[in-house]
């Protein structure tokens, strides 16, 4: 329908307008397009006009100091919070934050890994991963069991199916959280500090797992992290947030060679 409109306009407009429309159409079809996002809590402006675009198969790492609204950004995308102003388009459609049923349909195309995994503590590891499948996929118990084992196997947790979340380590919880986020085969993956609080070896394992998943599935990912090594390894592009705004965006090398004092300050600690 959108395509038809664009074609119809293109026959009556000049060349510049045609180019603008096709560019807009192209942008609209991207998995994630954020424009002018604002979010405040009382007098505190957490996000102050954030623009961000993530293409299919791309991974964007969002860096920034604590409290700069990185996690809030993810919660806005998944509709857990409402932006004060700005636009969030998922696969070309504005997210319907006030229509819960429609929002839930969009959420099914997203996988979200929470900072502390947020596993349901009354359910076993297998039941946690089966939760989205049970709710949104019509499959028999054996099909679901097979899918759960497959997902847990892909994150190296196939031997811990019946364990409770309280009986596994933080790194293992992150892996299970990742498996749960991937359960519905989402086109978009939102990862909130996937390596925070983990030892370097486990962090590396999680990074490699994310890289492997990127190769296997063409997902658009936003990874919020403080870990520069992790960002360098897994991200195609890096976005640096400061005082609610995007200070700089580019590859790790571009940011590393930037002359911006804040970027230098941010990068020199780990260099």
């Amino acid at each position: 329908m959108l395509g038809e409109q664009v074609v119809a306009r293109s026959t009556t407009s000049d060349g510049d307008e045609l180019e603008a429309e096709t560019a807009e159409q192209r942008t609209g079809a991207l998995p994630i397009v954020l424009k002018g996002l604002h979010k405040s809590y009382g007098a505190q402006h957490v996000l102050d006009g954030v623009d961000l675009t993530v293409g299919g198969g791309q991974t964007v790492a969002v860096l920034g100091r604590s409290g700069t609204g990185k996690s809030v950004l993810l919660k806005l995308i998944v509709g857990l919070q409402k932006p004060d102003a700005g636009s969030i388009r998922i696969h070309g459609e504005e997210i319907p934050v006030s229509n819960l049923e429609a929002m839930n349909e969009i959420r099914k195309s997203m996988g979200f890994l929470f900072q502390h995994a947020a596993l349901y503590d009354s359910l076993t590891v297998a039941e946690n991963v089966a939760f989205p499948l049970r709710r949104h996929r019509k499959m028999t118990a054996s099909e679901r069991g097979h899918r759960v084992r497959q997902l847990l196997s892909s994150v190296g947790m196939e031997k811990d199916l019946e364990k409770m979340p309280s009986n596994i380590s933080g790194g293992m919880q992150k892996r299970v959280g990742l498996a749960r986020a991937l359960a519905l085969d989402p086109g978009i993956l939102l990862l909130d500090e996937p390596t925070a609080g983990l030892d370097p070896i486990t962090s590396r394992e999680i990074d490699e797992l994310i890289l492997k998943l990127q190769e296997e599935r063409e997902v658009a990912s936003i990874v919020v992290t403080h870990d520069l090594h992790s960002a360098k390894l897994i991200a195609d592009r890096i976005v640096l947030l400061h005082q609610g705004r995007v200070v700089i965006e580019g590859t790790f090398e571009e940011l590393d060679s930037s002359n911006d004092p804040f970027v230098i300050e941010f990068f020199k600690r780990d260099s």
């Binding site: 857990l80 049923e101 949104h136």
Partner: protein, 283 residues
């Protein structure tokens, strides 16, 4: 420039005296602040209830979770409710005997015990016991889920937490409270008879016949169904306090405590109002 910035001899500093206007303002603020807080809480509770009601417009209706909650709230509260009902029955029988014997109305003892239990003691004791056990349980469970982002995780996976977590618990409370009241009533009457028959032997059949003489089904139905309203109050307040908790483990503790305190308080208030209403509709 303030006194902190420059060292000034203390004799030069004139102590500021409180202004009458600011004093009045502070007193008014002290009075208004809790009222404002209560009105805000009540408004948020109303919005929460509306969201729960809206959540059940469309399927699925979470039958599996409802069954789990019926077991959690109903079956697992049964021993405590039965024990409380039994204790009330025993105390009523012993205390009433003493009073009735003094007034020469010993034969009224079965009626006094049964009528008191069915009309008031059974429903209110069940309401308060359940608000303590279930209110604290729901408040702590949902509060813990809230602060560990489990409720966000449910929402992010495209499931309505108001339906899955709140509606099922509220409905389970509404359905189970009348049944638990029946259990409390039965245990109260049975133990009341035991306490009575230990002093002055009487058969259970005779005790019941004497106690239920002249009572109608309405005497039994209205007080028992009143506890469905208690269930509604306990369910809504406990779910709201749990799902709106914040501030880590301290917040979970606050959610559990406030669930018990507020639901008990509103159960007592509702009891007063409903007793009056029942007397109007079932004179």
């Amino acid at each position: 420039m303030s006194h902190d910035d420059v060292r000034v001899p203390s004799r030069w500093i004139i102590e500021e005296t409180p202004q009458p206007v600011s004093f009045v303002q502070s007193v008014l603020a002290a009075i208004w602040s809790p009222i404002n807080g209560f009105l805000e809480w009540f408004g948020e509770l109303g919005i929460f209830t509306w969201r729960v009601m809206r959540s059940v417009e469309n399927p699925p209706f979470e039958g599996r979770e409802l069954l789990r909650q019926l077991d959690e709230i109903g079956s697992k509260s049964f021993p405590l409710v039965a024990l409380a009902g039994a204790a009330v029955g025993a105390v009523l029988a012993l205390e009433s005997r003493y009073s009735l014997v003094r007034f020469g109305a010993k034969s009224m003892l079965p009626a006094a015990v049964i009528f008191s239990i069915i009309h008031e003691m059974g429903p209110i004791v069940t309401g308060l016991v359940v608000s303590g056990r279930v209110g604290a349980g729901i408040g702590a469970e949902l509060g813990s889920m809230q602060v560990t982002e489990q409720i966000d995780a449910i929402e992010a996976s495209g499931v309505n937490p108001y339906k899955l977590l709140a509606f099922t618990r509220i409905l389970a409370c509404v359905l189970m409270l009348p049944l638990l009241t029946l259990a409390a009533d039965f245990c109260g009457v049975a133990v009341g008879w035991i306490a009575d028959t230990l002093v002055d032997p009487i058969s259970f059949r005779r005790f019941l016949n004497s106690g239920l003489h002249g009572t109608t089904f309405a005497d039994f139905l209205a007080p028992t169904l009143r506890t469905a309203v208690f269930g509604l109050i306990i369910g809504i307040i406990a779910c709201f306090q749990g799902m709106s908790s914040s501030g880590g483990t301290e917040g979970v503790g606050r959610a559990a405590t406030s669930s018990v305190v507020l639901s008990s308080l509103f159960v007592i208030l509702a009891d007063v109002i409903l007793v009056k209403l029942i007397l109007v509709f079932f004179p």
